[in-house]
């Protein structure tokens, strides 16, 4: 785990190697280091951390989406990287708006990102450009909407019990 100083060093190396605007911010809380990066530079940052950084992170532990509904930009995509050799972890986070959320795929860097990017697409609607198989993975293929967004209705239906059976319409009536 890079400490707060190490995180700033990583961020500076990323800025030097990728782009000056690539790292939007850093945060270090509860012993976990996080790089906040610009969405259009995400893939370049991950490629740098994977391949050309002097302390590389070769393993993608998790890739997942998130919805911070009151805040803008709403959607987040989190990458959790790990270095097996040094036993260090770092998180890379990026934020996207709900209007046309797009990221470049990282399946060529991390093959495990295949299904996880499909899951993020399925649940949050983030389109990963260049993904080899950009289908839904968990919901039916003809499903409408992205159900893990916070403004998506919960769904479900009222269940008949003896105390409310005279109030609720039965589905078969």
């Amino acid at each position: 785990m890079p400490d707060a100083t190490g995180l700033e060093l990583v961020a500076q190396r990323v800025r030097d190697a990728v782009h000056e605007e690539a790292v939007v911010g850093t945060s270090f809380a509860y012993d976990s280091a996080t790089l906040e990066v610009a969405p259009e530079r995400t893939r370049d940052v991950l490629e740098h951390l994977r391949r050309s950084d002097e302390e590389p992170y070769e393993h993608l532990m998790s890739l997942h989406g998130c919805d911070y509904l009151p805040e803008e930009p709403r959607l987040g995509v989190h990458y959790h990287l790990m270095s097996m050799g040094r036993r260090e972890r770092i998180a890379v986070k990026t934020r996207l708006t709900t209007e046309d959320p797009r990221l470049h795929t990282v399946t060529d860097l991390f093959p495990t990102a295949d299904f996880q990017e499909r899951e993020v697409y399925d649940f949050f609607g983030v389109v990963f450009e260049g993904h080899p198989d950009p289908r839904r993975i968990l919901m039916p293929e003809d499903y409408q909407g992205h159900p893990q967004r916070r403004d998506f209705p919960m769904g479900g239906e009222p269940v008949l019990f003896t105390h409310n059976e005279h109030k609720l319409p039965r589905w078969y009536d």
Partner: protein, 206 residues
């Protein structure tokens, strides 16, 4: 106090004497009233449907099919010697729907899985029965949201509902025994017609 005595001249009814009697019958040594008595002792008259239902209820083969966490409980019921479901004739797990009689919906039914389950049900040969095990399969339970079908009885006829989250093995066994009672009494719920599930077995090309 009344003392009831059996007839003195009656033949002994122990196993050995019956065995000897059967031996005589097979040799053709029995005739006359002895043969009539022999046949009367060994005949059981019943209706064909009753005999058929009796055979069906005592050879109720479940499909090896699990959906979610209830499947673990189901496996302990139909597959473990602790619960010993072979007492009720329902322990022969068949992993092909062609050979199974009973589909136990053990777990939540997602909307993506529902057409798969219906197809498996359609592939099962008549007679076939369905047990909805647990709260999720019966009413979506605690997962009452966008992903699940609230109640598997929306797309296939369910014969027995077993409540619980998950049901105890005893509860599932009780449900299976209820199903056996249902098979014996043979009520016509009209469900096969309502769910259009009669005659849906897919023909095999092979």
């Amino acid at each position: 106090m009344e003392i009831i005595r059996s007839k003195v001249d009656r033949k002994p009814d122990d196993f050995r004497s019956r065995q000897l009697q059967a031996q005589q019958m097979l040799r053709g040594d029995l005739d006359g009233t002895d043969l009539d008595e022999y046949v009367e002792q060994r005949l059981l008259l019943t209706k064909f449907e009753d005999a058929q239902n009796w055979a069906r209820r005592n050879a109720l083969w479940p499909l090896g099919f699990g959906l979610a966490c209830c499947a673990i409980e189901m496996i302990t019921v139909i597959g473990s010697p602790r619960n010993d479901l072979s007492r009720f004739g329902a322990e022969v797990i068949r992993f092909s729907p062609r050979q199974a009689d009973m589909l136990i919906l053990s777990g939540r039914v997602s909307i993506k899985m529902a057409p798969v389950i219906r197809r498996i049900y359609d592939q099962m040969l008549e007679p076939k029965w369905v047990i909805s095990m647990g709260a999720c399969a019966s009413s979506a339970g605690m997962f009452n949201n966008y992903a699940l079908v609230a109640g598997a009885d929306k797309f296939l006829p369910v014969d027995v509902y077993v409540p619980g989250c998950p049901p105890r093995p005893e509860a599932l066994m009780y449900g299976i025994m209820k199903l056996q009672d249902k098979i014996t009494s043979e009520p016509n719920d009209g469900w096969r017609e309502r769910y259009k599930s009669a005659g849906t077995e897919e023909a095999s090309d092979a």
